[in-house]
Structure formats: C-alpha cells, structure tokens
Amino acid sequence: MKISTLRNNLRDYGLLISLIVIIGFFQIVTNGILLQPLNLTNLILQNSYIVVMALGMLLVIVAGHIDLSVGAASGFIGGLAAILMVHYEWSVTLTIIVALLVGMLIGAIQGWFVAYARIPSFIVTLAGMLVFKGSALALLQGQSIGPFPLAFQSISTGFLPDPFGGKDIRVFSLIIGVVLAGIFVGIDWHQRFKAQMHGLNKEPTALFAVRNFLFAAIIIYLAWQLSTYKGLPTVLILMGVLILFYQFIAGRTVIGRRIYALGGNEKAARLSGIDTSRLIFLTFANMGLLAAVAGIIFAARLNTATPKAGNGFELDVIAACFIGGASASGGVGRVIGAVIGAFIMGVMNNGMSILGIGIDYQQVIKGLVLLAAVFFDVYNRNRSQFG
C-alpha cells in the first residue's frame, strides 16, 4: 500500500522531477551557465512561443486531433504584422488586433474543414501548413522585414518596471516571485484541505510538505536570479497568465470538461447532448489565435519577420504535449504537463547550444528524449492497470 501510493504520486510528479533532473544536469555540465540570470532570461524568451502554442495544441490533442500548421501559421502572422507596421505604417495596437483576428480566422477555417466537413485534421492542417508557408514567402517576397516600432519590440524585450528603483536587484520582480510562491502553496494547501474533507486525499503529509517547500524554493530562486538581471520579462508574465487561464479552462470549466469527453469518446459525448462539431471548431480557432500570439512574440523578439520564421515549431509544440503525457488517441493530457514538456525541450535546446553540440545531434537527442518520455508513460500506465 505504502509503496503503491508513493509510486502513484511519483508518476504524477515524474514529469516535473524529470525537468528538474534535466535542469540539474545541464547546470552542472555547463558549469552553472544555464541558470545564470542572463541565460535564464534568454531561456524563457526562447521558449515562450512554444509554450504559448503548446497550450492550444494540448486542447487540440485532447479533443482527439492534431494541428501541423501552427509553425507555418505563426510565421505567416509574423510576416503579416511586419508588412502592416513597416510598409503600411499601421499602429502597433491595430496591427496586433488584426494579426490576432487573422490567426483566429486561420484556425477557424481549418476547424471548419475538420469539424463540419469531417476531413481528418492531419490532412487539413498538413494542407494548411503548405498554404501558410507559401503565403508567408509570397507576402515577404523572400525578404526579411524590420525593424519594428519600439512598442512592438517591447512585447518580447520588455521587463517589468521596478517602482522601488532597486539598483543591483529588481525588488518588485523579486516580491512578485515570493508572492507567487505563496499563492502556489496556498492553493495547494487549500486543495489538500478540500480533498481531505471529501476523504479523497491520498498524499502523505511528508511528501506534501517536501513538495511544497521545494516548489516554493525553486520559484523564489528563479525570481531572485531574474531580479539580479533586468527583472521579470513581460513575456513571462503574459505566458504565466495564459498558462493559468488555460489550466483553468481545461480543469474547471464546462467547456474544458466537454473537450475531454469529446476526445475520450466522441459518440458518447454527442449522445450526451454536446455539440461536438462546434467544440472541435472552437478548439481549432483557439489554436489559430494562440499561433498568432506566438507569431507576434517571435517576430518581436527577432525584431524582423523572416520567411523562415516558424519553421518546425509545430514539431516542438507537439512533442511538448506528448512529453507532457497527452495521449495521441485523445481524451488524456494536462495543460501543466504540456508546459513542463515545452520547458524540457527548451532546456535541452538551450543547454546543448551552450555546450556547443551541433544542430544535427541536438535533433537526434531530442527525438530520443521524446520517444523515451512517451515510452515510460505508456509503460507506467500499463503497469498500473494490471498491478
């Protein structure tokens, strides 16, 4: 009994532990460069667009589908924003609004074909990928376009201002980190309390305490590291808000529950009165919107739009979801898993680059990690079913 509870809990946190182990590993082999304030900031910026798209992709995968077009779509949106701002001199706000709308439209059109025309999403979005890749090339006429107005750049290069005017350390950013850690522990404590009231609690107290202490310590440590550089990046805040939002949608709302039901058994969901076609449509429209957000972040970070932007992003995004425990047959997956999955990929990218490992071997290693992660997940699942 004891061992099996430990094993169940380990399975729940296995992913997070893997992330921590991977971070630890690269921290050591890079002689501490990985978590240096400058690099840490970079790591977050480099990953933000993958994380953002992984949020949408997770819902798509849970609904039992896939979207291969997100990389191309985000590149196309970056190009579109660049043309509007640089050639047509639209204001930053208007550009962003239009870019987001176009992203949503892209998702909606693909969603329509999947949901109402009942064409497999693999095919629809494969077509979409070609179309948007080509459109981005045509739009930019093979050129890079930039630079952008400062306001646009600051989406990716901005940091949280420090009203306390700290010199070596951004006090405000640090405070936010501490508060965040507090909130995290508070929520977890509250949930444990509620679970206990319903007699559903399965986690031993010691594990609970150690876990919370560790998490809080890690959050505060990261916040402290970032504060000694320029403070919390704006993108991190945006990302944090989006993660919380989608976590909430997936876990707590009616629409989230219905997406899981749809992926688990579409016929049963339909017979329960759920408009499954509309739900699929919405999931894809949402994915398009998030691809647009990612496209904007990416363009702002490079300060140019290039025809190559977004190439291959879909692979990292999809890999993040599967590493995070999503099931390819739908119905299973967690937002937080996808986020951790994205960071596992990100830390590996970053760490291997610091070590000077060539792009060739980087890909080989990433591929193997994806396979290993899913293998252990499947293996564990089978064991717990029969054990």
């Binding site: 707590r252 009616v254 219905r258 058994n265 049963a268 969901a269 119905g331």
Partner: protein, 511 residues
C-alpha cells in the same frame, strides 16, 4: 459419473488499488461438466476467469491453479491457450472488418512459411461453422452479422484451437431468446464431446437449464457450490446466495397512476444511414402517458433502437420526418441538445460505444449530460459534482472503490448503473431505456426496476425497450410490438402475454 476434477483453483486472491476483487476463492470443475458461476455485478466472476486464463499472469494473484493435474503458472493468454483453456470474454473480440474465416484463424493462421493457405482455412472454417450451427459463408464480413451470430463465430474460433476448457463470460447477455436457446444447445453438444465449460451468466433460468453444478460468488468469496444432479436447486436459493438476502419479488408491486399523454409521435419515418433508400422506420405512431411504463417488444433488428435514437435528437438516421408532441405541443427535436432540453433522455444499449467515457472517472461520466446543473457561469463546482455522483453511487449501489475510479475498471453491471445515473441526473420527463438490464444481476435489476417504477410514480413517462419478455410483462402498463420497422400490435397489460407478443411478430412477418 466418475467425477474427476479437470481444474481446481485454490485460495485465489486478487486485489486492485482499493478493491479486493477476489478473496480466497476456491473453484473445482469436473471433467466434461457445465459449471456455472453466478454472482452479483462486481462479485469477481470476470476477474476469476481472467486469473485462470492468464490475463492476470502468475505473480499478480495469490493462490494456485491446478489444471489437468498439474500446477499451472500462466504468464499470458498464450500459455493458457496452449493448455486448452479458451476464454470468450464479456466483450466480444472480433475484428468487424474481417471475414469469418479470417477472424477464426486470427493469431494462429494456417500458414506455411508465412503464406496463408486460404483454401484449407475456408474448408476448416466451414466445418467449424457447421459444428456450431451457423449458416453463413466463411467469407462473410463479421461486422455485418448480428450479435447472436458473432457469438457463434467466437465459439467457432475457440473450437479451432485445441479446446479442453471453454469459458464463456455472459455469452447470452445480448442475445434474444432464440439465439440463446441455440447457444445453450450447442454447449450441451460440446459437453457430449468431452469439452468442459464454465458459463457465467445472470440469466438464472438458463443456468439452471444447462448447468451440472453452480458456484456462487459474493463480494469476491465463494459462497457455495450446488450440485444440480443431487438436489433440486431452487432459483430463490441461488439468489439468496448471490445477494445475501431474500428477494421476495422480481418486480416491484406497481400501482400505476396514469395521467394524460405526455409524449406522442405521429407517423415517424426514418431512412437508413448508409443505404439511403432503405426505410428503417415505416410510419410509426404511438404515445406515452404520465406515470405510464410503455414497452416495445420485438426481435433483434426490428428497428427499436433506430426508432429510439432517431427520436432522440435525430441521433440515428436520415430523411427523418414525422411529428413529436410533448405535453400536447409539437416540438422540434432535431438535435440532441433540443431533445434533452425538452426532457427526453435515452439510455443506450451500447454502453461502451455510445454510452460511457471509459477512461474517465465515474463522477465525470455521471454529470456529463447535465453539466450546467453543477456549474456556475461555466465553471464546474467539483464539490457539488462529487455530491451528485456520491448520491447516485449510494442510491443505485454502484460498487466501486470511489467515485474517482475510472469507469473502464468497473464490472459490466456497474458500468450500466453509471450510465443510468447519467440520464437520471438530467431529470427527464420521458426516459427511453434501451435494454437497461442487460448483464445486470437479479438484485441490481430489482433496484433498477424500483427506480423506473419510482420515476413513473412521479408522473414521468417511461419507454422501455427490451428483449427480455418477462421484463416487459413484469413492468409495462402497455406493450407495443415492433416488427420490421412498424408497430404491429398494441397490448394493454391485461392482455399481454409471451404468446401474444410472439404471435403478433410471427403473423406480421408472414403477411
């Protein structure tokens, strides 16, 4: 008869997280007997058979299995099959797209150097089909056969292997009476050919008809083994052993208070989903009154499920037309959402395919069709959701470790109760039940009948589709008889009988 044991399972225990499914179970089966295992839903019957057949390999259970005099330690199903133990699971395991012959030899194809010898395969398949009495060509596609015939294909598949002990887990649950009869006759014939059988069934009359001995399980323990040859075994005795208490009546004492018409259908026509020119429902009209339980009798394939599903938000069929009235007003039920909003609920006969989200918790399955009820502004209140699920768990006596258990891990009967809970939670005014007690034990059946009766007493209308005639006769105030997409008779309770129903069906087919 020299009673020599072929199988003895000794002190078998097996637990899952939170459930002790088997607790020191003993089972002895003699050579060439038909040994029935009965017990409530979740008593552990299927689990015991999975232990026996190596689905749960040696090491995952405690106790010993002796088969043909030797201690066996099966690592997987192949091991047990090699010894001649063949199991036909509760859920059929045929590949619907393949032919009968392909299915029969799936996994042990008649091949030389990897090349399948189709000629021999077809000849052998034909022999096996003759043996089980199935009049189909070996090349027929399995998915196009009815469930009864598929069941026979499963048996043919078992006979293709060297079978010493054949295990059938609820083989007749979804068969109609004629098909069940045929199957039971086949078992007796196999017995004459020295094949030992273990039969799991909730249909006690069938069990008593064919079994030589009966072992009763309750809560994962063996209660007793009855020898039908020695003593006259009474059904009440078995039931008491299964449920641990006396059950006085099979059906609740109904005092129907029938009111005005709550649901009426006029001239309902539905065409087939694939063969668009084929009319499945040919102008059906009927009504249900408040407080009334209305039955629909008919053979498999007579269109009862198609009728129900097409009424329920056009979930089945094409080119549907006809009128639906609820409380005297014509309503539009062309989407399932509309149907639910108008107070319709449909409990499907296909709980795995159309009913449940197997890889989800009981709690989530129960509330799925009425999420707004447990949420505010689109946010689910998990506490009230848990309360709802807990309530149904208690009132329907769903046997589970907690409401957080995945539905896939429940026994068949308990899955059915979860499905029923889901639709009761929508608080319908007309509840359509399609084979609601399929695979359910006697005690739970009574529970479900009581619930149905309670709903009727509250003034709701009930439409009960069932292939079990005693159930229709025991519960319904009025019975429509359906045949080939039409209603061919309407019998009030006082006039209804098994003979009359059969007579109506037969004469409609002849004319």
């Amino acid at each position: 008869m020299a009673q020599e044991p072929i199988l003895s399972m000794r002190n078998i225990s097996k637990s899952f997280p939170g459930v002790q499914a088997l607790d020191n179970v003993n089972l002895t089966v003699y050579k060439s007997e038909i040994h029935a295992i009965v017990g409530e839903n979740g008593a552990g019957k299927s689990t015991l058979m999975k232990v026996l057949s190596g689905v749960y390999p040696y090491g995952q259970y405690e106790g010993e299995i002796h088969f043909e005099g030797k201690l066996q330690r099966f690592e997987d199903i192949r091991d047990s099959e090699a010894q001649g133990i063949i199991i036909i699971h509760q859920e059929l395991a045929l590949v619907p797209m393949l032919s009968i012959a392909e299915n029969i030899f799936l996994g042990h194809e008649l091949a030389k150097a990897g090349i399948i010898d189709w000629h021999t395969a077809y000849v052998r398949a034909q022999e096996l089909l003759n043996r089980v009495g199935l009049k189909e060509l070996p090349s027929a596609i399995v998915g196009r056969l009815g469930i009864g015939k598929q069941q026979l294909v499963e048996i043919a598949k078992a006979l293709a292997k060297r079978v010493r002990l054949l295990i059938l887990d609820e083989p007749t649950a979804s068969l109609n009476e004629t098909d069940s009869e045929a199957l039971l006759r086949l078992l007796l014939e196999l017995k004459a050919h020295d094949i030992t059988c273990i039969l799991i069934s909730h249909k006690l009359n069938e069990v008593m008809q064919v079994a030589d001995r009966i072992t009763i399980l309750r809560d994962g323990t063996t209660i007793e083994t009855l020898n039908c040859a020695e003593t006259l075994v009474k059904e009440d005795h078995i039931i008491r052993g299964m449920v641990g208490r006396d059950i006085q009546h099979r059906y609740p004492q109904r005092r129907p208070k029938i009111g005005e018409v709550i649901f009426e259908v006029r001239n309902w026509r539905v065409y087939h989903e694939q063969y668009v020119d084929y009319e499945v429902i040919k102008g059906v009209s009927f009504n249900v009154r408040r407080g009334e339980i209305v039955g629909i009798a008919g053979l498999m394939g007579s269109g009862r499920t198609e009728l129900a599903m097409s009424l329920f938000g056009h979930a089945y069929g094409r080119r549907i037309n006809g009128q639906v009235f609820i409380d005297g007003r014509e309503v539009n039920v062309s989407t399932i959402g509309d149907a639910i909003r108008h107070g319709l609920a449909y409990v499907t006969e296909d709980r795995k395919g159309w009913g449940l989200i197997l890889e989800q918790e009981i709690r989530k399955n129960v509330t799925l069709a009425n999420l707004p009820k447990v949420s505010q502004r689109g946010v689910i209140d998990e506490n009230s959701e848990a309360k709802v699920a807990q309530g149904f768990r208690e009132s329907l006596r769903i046997r589970c470790s907690s409401i957080e258990q995945f539905v896939v891990n429940l026994s068949g009967g308990n899955q059915q109760k979860v499905l029923l809970s889901k639709w009761l939670f929508t608080q319908p005014s007309l509840l359509i039940l399609d084979e609601p007690t399929r695979g359910i034990d006697v005690g739970a059946k009574y529970d479900i009948y009581t619930i149905i009766d309670g709903l009727a007493a509250e003034g709701k209308g009930i439409l009960l589709i069932s292939s079990e005639m005693p159930e229709l006769l025991g519960m319904c105030d009025r019975i429509y008889v359906m045949s080939e997409g039409q209603f061919v008779a309407e019998l009030p309770r006082s006039e209804a009988s098994q003979e009359r129903i059969m007579h109506a069906i037969v004469s409609s087919v002849q004319s």
